[in-house]
């Protein structure tokens, strides 16, 4: 597995969205959450490529949900963050905070 601080921005966003949506994080809800919060719309192809990569790295887990009538009896694939995933995200965000510490950026909040 790659160094935990090596998470890309899209991976950080996915992990944070999964945590926020727990336990209802699946493709559509993850995409909607990111779009609502930061107004960025990823394609499902990009989302699943990242989710697959995160799952291969042991940072998230997937489970099949129950079949619903809304989706024509098909099952949703839900994602949850693992302990390793939370640690990796924390380390990655910490690294970013450390790099940013002491800098004054234009347009920053407060």
């Amino acid at each position: 597995m790659a160094d935990v601080t090596d998470l890309k921005l899209i991976e950080q966003q996915m992990l944070l969205a999964i945590m926020r949506l727990h336990p209802n994080a699946y493709g559509v809800s993850i995409r909607d959450e990111i779009k609502t919060r930061i107004n960025k719309e990823y394609s499902f192809g990009s989302i699943y490529a990242v989710l697959e990569h995160l799952e291969d790295g042991g940072l998230i887990e997937s489970r099949e949900g129950k079949a619903t009538a809304v989706r024509g009896g098909r099952k949703k694939l839900y994602f949850t963050i693992t302990g390793a995933g939370e640690k990796a995200l924390q380390a990655s965000l910490n690294a970013m905070d450390t790099m940013r510490a002491g800098l004054k950026l234009k347009g920053a909040f407060a």
Partner: protein
């Protein structure tokens, strides 16, 4: 040779009704000729509309006019070719899930009042966006096309 059509009692009644209605409208139209003022013209159109509505209501109550529900259009389904493309170009692991997600967004667009044509267009957009990285990767793998794709990518970056 075509066989002569026979009309039942109901059809005859409907035909008589329509003739009577036309006569009534003709009488109103003749009266309405030469209306100079705008208010008169508006009143004339409103009167025509009221007569039509009254006749329709009466015919409907008597069972002469029937409303038929339109059959469900098969075009409310997602575009089949886009579905097939997604099926061919995405990895087996999440192929079905990806298609289900696109389908869910399509159904949501429709239930939000979007037109079928626009919802289908959005489905196409989502499908092409999702498969483009896979298509580029595949193009790279197959010889000369791969070289062209790589060259195009270098030009763009």
């Amino acid at each position: 040779m075509s066989t002569p059509q026979t009309y039942g009692h109901e059809q005859n009644r409907a035909a008589i009704k329509i003739i009577a209605l036309r006569k009534k409208l003709l009488a109103i139209e003749l009266k309405g000729e030469g209306l100079a003022k705008e208010e008169e013209r508006i009143e004339f159109v409103a009167k025509l509309f009221r007569v039509l509505l009254k006749e329709y209501k009466e015919s409907f109550d008597k069972g002469i006019v029937e409303t038929k529900t339109r059959p469900v259009s098969p075009r409310t389904e997602p575009p089949r070719i886009a579905e097939l493309l997604v099926g061919w170009c995405t990895k087996k692991g999440y192929r079905e899930t990806l298609r289900d997600n696109l389908d869910e967004v399509f159904q949501r667009d429709l239930s939000n009042g979007m037109t079928v044509a626009r919802a289908r267009l959005r489905y196409w957009g989502g499908a092409l966006n999702s498969i483009t990285p896979q298509l580029l990767a595949a193009a790279k793998r197959i010889g000369i096309i791969g070289l062209i794709a790589d060259y195009a990518r270098r030009l763009l970056h």
